[in-house]
């Protein structure tokens, strides 16, 4: 049994397997299937300041080895989260991390301040990379200046572990990562979904109500791996890697590329118990290759000069 414990900032995780925001509900939806406390952490679905109805139907299109979504941050707002959802999830014996989204910097600040007060939410993930909203969202994550500005504002009001979730819809993701690191982010998670679209040729109409949406699943894994690799060369803070992870082997590839932890998203839809299988599979890999700890493989990709 290898040691799977990792640390991000001062925060300890019993293992490096987390679930991705927007794909795991509040964790409660998975209680029937397995003990979610066995995971390293749960990223709950996005919370915004005000209630959001999200985008009209249809919001989903299946694509080759992946899917497009255009949910658009549907949620009941931060006060509802604090009063109604938090009491249901605060008893989890794993790191429950809030995903904070907004249209303006003020929105992000209000949500982050309220999350800071919640004892059993030890970290937030700042979502500056949602491609499915008209205002804000990804716009904050696609230029160094705006990514820096929002990180700086949140760092002032949020005292616990701050993770910033990066958008892949940029030319140079390493620059953005450096920019948020310089403003005090404790970690970066990447990648969010890639902007894509799907068309029905017979009807000559787009499939999604919003025309474009976010691509996730195995189709994006090679891009995610490349970006984790590039960012790991550029920053000193720990990286949380995600994008298309379906099994333990995929996860190992992310650790080798430089990720300290990983998140599982779309794969939860196909097998709701997949994250636990990934924990066990990582352990099996480490034992088989005689590594004592997960930390022994992080960033250990062997590249010829």
């Amino acid at each position: 049994m290898a040691d799977l414990k990792i640390k991000i900032n001062q925060l300890e995780f019993k293992n490096p397997v987390l679930t991705a925001s927007g794909t795991f509900g509040y964790g409660l939806e998975f209680d029937d299937f397995f003990d979610v406390n066995l995971l390293g952490g749960i990223l709950v679905k996005a919370t915004t300041n005000a209630k959001r109805e999200g985008n009209p139907y249809p919001r989903m299109a299946e694509t080759a080895s992946g899917m497009l979504n255009a949910v658009g941050l549907q949620n009941k707002g931060v006060d509802y989260f604090v009063n109604e959802i938090y009491p249901l999830i605060k008893g989890y014996q794993t790191n429950v991390i809030a995903n904070v989204s907004g249209s303006t910097i003020e929105d992000y600040i209000v949500v982050a301040e309220k999350m800071n007060e919640l004892e059993n939410i030890p970290a937030i993930e700042l979502n500056i990379s949602c491609p499915n909203v008209k205002q804000g969202g990804m716009a904050f994550g696609t230029s160094c200046a705006s990514a820096q500005e929002v990180t700086k504002a949140i760092r002032k009001v949020y005292s616990k572990t701050l993770i910033v979730k990066l958008s892949p819809n940029v030319t140079n993701i390493a620059e953005i990562a450096k920019a948020v690191e310089s403003e005090g982010a404790d970690s970066v998670s990447l990648i969010n979904t890639l902007l894509g679209m799907a068309i029905n040729a017979e009807t000559r109409k787009p499939i999604l109500s919003t025309v474009t949406g976010g691509l996730s699943g195995p189709a994006i894994k090679p891009i995610a791996l490349r970006m984790v690799w590039q960012v790991s060369k550029a920053v000193n803070i720990p990286i949380i890697g995600l994008g298309g992870i379906m099994n333990a082997t995929d996860a190992i590839e992310f650790f080798l590329a430089g990720a300290t932890a990983i998140q599982i998203g779309t794969a939860n839809f196909i097998d709701p118990t997949v994250s636990l299988k990934v924990v066990n599979g990582i352990n099996e890999y480490l034992d088989r290759h005689k590594f004592a700890s997960i930390n022994d493989i992080i960033g250990k990709l062997e590249v010829k000069n």
Partner: protein, 258 residues
């Protein structure tokens, strides 16, 4: 209701024609409670283009034999693969999902189905009959080739048929069948499942007669368990997930222009 992930064995693949099939699946384990109108998410393995699970409503359940059947119409690559599955193969299901139809304690019910929308109505008729409600079932189609399993439906209620071309039953649309205005029958509730245009016509008819009406909606789903919010429909209380707060909705809660 607790949800399960269970492997079923294909006991029978009853091909109705080149477009429709009924799969009878058996579990080694005792089946949990399943309500009429609930659905399952089926894993279609080994194909990158059928990446997500496929939702199908429960067509029938036999709790003694631990069998569950699905009515499958080919709608794409995933359903096509399923219609060609061999007896003895395994299928992995997540179930029971969704809310189910409401079942009254007495009276008469009218069930109206078209296309593969007749799927959930068999198990519904069975549950109604077991609850002392008298089911009348209208099966609609373009022609007699679209009408299936009449003998099965007849086990649990009185079957009525309409076809667009009059090749079987009454000629015309489901909402025009003479049983609807039969002065000897007072329907307490109407259930419908099928193409949206048909369900809307049924809803309109039910509303004009002041009869309760429940519809079973389809939607594009990714998870089927309320985790992704991909499957919403507009209701008077805002967007609701078809997979957890549906698939069955009372028409008064929907924002349909009828």
């Amino acid at each position: 209701m607790k949800k399960y992930i269970i492997d079923f064995k294909v006991l029978e693949n009853k091909k109705l024609n080149d477009q429709n099939t009924i799969l009878v699946l058996q579990s080694d384990e005792k089946l949990p409670e399943i309500l009429a109108g609930q659905f399952v998410e089926v894993l279609v393995e080994d194909s990158p283009s059928t990446f997500l699970r496929r939702p199908f409503s429960v067509h029938n359940v036999d709790f003694h034999e631990n069998t569950l059947s699905l009515f499958i119409k080919i709608a794409g690559i995933g359903s096509k693969k399923l219609t060609n599955i061999e007896v003895g193969e395994n299928l992995n299901l997540i179930f029971p999902l969704g809310n189910g139809f409401s079942i009254p304690n007495e009276g008469s019910a009218l069930l109206i189905g078209g296309g593969c929308g007749i799927g959930p109505l068999l198990f519904l008729a069975k549950c109604l009959m077991e609850n002392n409600v008298e089911p009348h079932i209208i099966l609609g189609g373009r022609s007699k080739e679209d009408i299936f399993e009449v003998h099965e439906y007849s086990k649990y209620g009185t079957v009525h048929i309409t076809t667009d071309d009059g090749s079987l039953g009454e000629k015309g649309f489901v909402t025009k069948h003479t049983i609807i205005d039969d002065p000897d029958i007072k329907f307490d509730i109407i259930y419908t499942c099928g193409p949206e245009i048909m369900m809307k016509a049924v809803a309109k008819m039910a509303k004009s007669k002041g009869i309760e009406c429940e519809v079973s909606l389809e939607n594009t789903m990714a998870c089927g368990i309320g985790a992704c919010l991909c499957c919403v429909t507009e209701t008077i209380d805002g967007n609701k997930c078809v997979c957890t707060e549906g698939p069955v909705f009372n028409i008064n809660d929907l924002k349909w222009q009828i």
